[in-house]
């Protein structure tokens, strides 16, 4: 039965996970991700989700148990944030190299120190090279929908890569807003049973996680890179299918264009800052300014072609990065600059919202103002 309720972003994720029916949920609580394991353990306790909840002793173990669950061939789920993700660092590339279609929710929180529990994207961005697809969400509804799409995309035979579904810690994980919870039958029709070909089975033994010598490691990594390319095709396909079944869409699943048709200046944003930027764009449009917004929903694989096509005719494009690669620039800025190296458009990176500093309308307006005046990207403190 379809339900319309006011719930938090974390609850929306838990509700979506319930509909995807994972069999194993190894989870370790950490602020601001804790609401997700709390809700899922409630579901398991109430018997509405038939899954094994493993109370692991750390995030390293959570990721390891996630690997184990996929090795025996069942759908699984975990959730974490911040230093928890950092503790998983060692296991994340092992999961992706094993081509396990795991799904994890990340309630983005900065990586300490100084110790700080608030939102920025440095936890997920620090793991951008580990072979995990990364999708960022703007609203609780989008978080709900993205979890369901994530299992579908990850489990595509030609993709077979794990996915991080990222929601901004507090700014989305703790925000209560209306969410439409879909019907189980409809979700079942969209997301078929998980049927892996290779599983650990004593009757038909196989070797998982072997050593790859220098003469083969390269090829396995190349396969992952090719799978990422496949994901660039599969994400829009899964997204279109989702839209036709459930009636909601987020651009093409990779990026969403807002007021971009005749725009001269645009900002690229991800996560909740997209919502506030939408409002700013609407306000500036009323003043007659030709501004637009590109929502970067999928960060890995990086939708290079889409970024080139949407930016090449602009005068300038700015990027709101909620993370900085210390000693260089924001992670998204670097990718956008690389993508647009042959285009005339000016690219400026703005670092904002570190450690929970609000990205408000004033800061976004300031970014647009700098773009229009031909200024350089700054730290929007």
């Amino acid at each position: 039965m379809v339900k319309n309720v006011v719930i938090s972003g974390s609850d929306a994720i838990a509700e979506a996970v319930k509909l995807c029916k994972p069999k194993v949920c190894p989870m370790y609580p950490i602020t601001p991700s804790t609401l997700v394991p709390e809700k899922i353990s409630e579901f398991i306790n109430d018997g509405v989700l038939e899954a094994e909840m493993i109370n692991v002793e750390s995030e390293h173990s959570a990721a390891s148990a996630l690997f184990g669950a996929y090795a025996i061939g069942v759908r699984a789920f975990t959730a974490s944030a911040s230093n928890g993700i950092a503790l998983m660092h060692e296991i994340l590339p092992i999961i992706s190299a094993s081509r396990f279609p795991a799904v994890m929710s990340v309630a983005n929180r900065t990586i300490s120190g100084p110790i700080n529990i608030w939102n920025d994207h440095s936890d997920a961005m620090s793991e951008r090279d580990q072979g995990w697809i990364q999708m960022y969400c703007e609203s609780s509804q989008e978080a709900f929908d993205t979890i369901i799409m994530a299992y579908k995309i990850a489990e595509k035979e030609n993709v077979s890569l794990p996915i991080m579904v990222c929601i901004d810690g507090f700014s989305l994980s703790h925000v209560y807003e209306p969410v439409q919870i879909e019907d189980q039958k409809k979700v079942d029709a969209f997301l078929p049973k998980y049927n892996p070909k290779n599983i650990l089975d004593i009757k038909n033994p196989k070797t998982f996680g072997p050593i790859a010598f220098p003469n083969s490691f390269f090829e396995f990594h190349e396969q992952e890179q090719l799978a990422m390319k496949e994901a660039l095709k599969e994400i829009p396909l899964a997204h279109t299918e989702f839209a036709s079944m459930f009636g909601r869409k987020y651009g093409n699943g990779l990026i969403e264009l807002i007021e971009m048709k005749d725009a001269e200046y645009a900002l690229i944003a991800n996560g909740t800052s997209v919502g506030t930027t939408r409002v700013v764009v609407e306000e500036l449009r009323k003043e007659g300014k030709k501004v637009g917004l590109i929502k970067l929903k999928t960060f890995r694989p990086f939708p290079k072609e889409e970024i080139i096509n949407s930016c090449k005719n602009l005068k300038a494009v700015g990027i709101i990065d909620r993370h900085v690669s210390l000693g260089s620039e924001g992670a998204i800025t670097l990718d956008v600059k690389a993508a647009l190296k042959d285009e005339k458009v000016r690219v400026e990176g703005f670092i904002s919202g570190l450690g929970g500093r609000d990205i408000d309308k004033t800061r976004i307006k300031k970014a647009f103002e700098i773009l229009e005046k031909g200024g350089k990207g700054i730290w929007l403190k």
Binding site: N198, K206, T207, G209, P210, F213, N215, F220
Partner: protein, 93 residues
């Protein structure tokens, strides 16, 4: 070495035939070759328990034998034997 030659790039680096390490014979690494003197052996099994490569097997008569396809000649078995039933010589190569 067989393992290095027959490269198959299965997705996820999964090896579909179990126990493929068996194809990787390590006996030729050996400098010292241990041997068991059955007349001294008391069948305690310490050599078998302590072999780091699983290269010692129990035979039907309760004694133990060394599989020279995999024995690397570390001589831990010789050290562990309580009755000095295991001795070694330099491998002829």
């Amino acid at each position: 070495m067989i393992f290095m030659v027959e490269l198959k790039f299965n997705k996820g680096a999964i090896i579909h035939d179990a126990g493929s390490t068996k194809n990787y014979k390590t006996g030729d690494w050996r400098t010292f070759k241990p041997s068991i003197d059955k007349s001294k052996c008391i069948k305690c099994g310490k050599c078998w328990m302590n072999c780091p490569d699983g290269a010692i097997r129990k035979t039907k008569d309760g004694f133990f034998e060394i599989n020279y396809d995999y024995c690397k000649g570390c001589l831990i078995c010789e050290k562990m034997c309580p009755v000095k039933a295991i001795s070694h010589e330099v491998e002829e190569k």
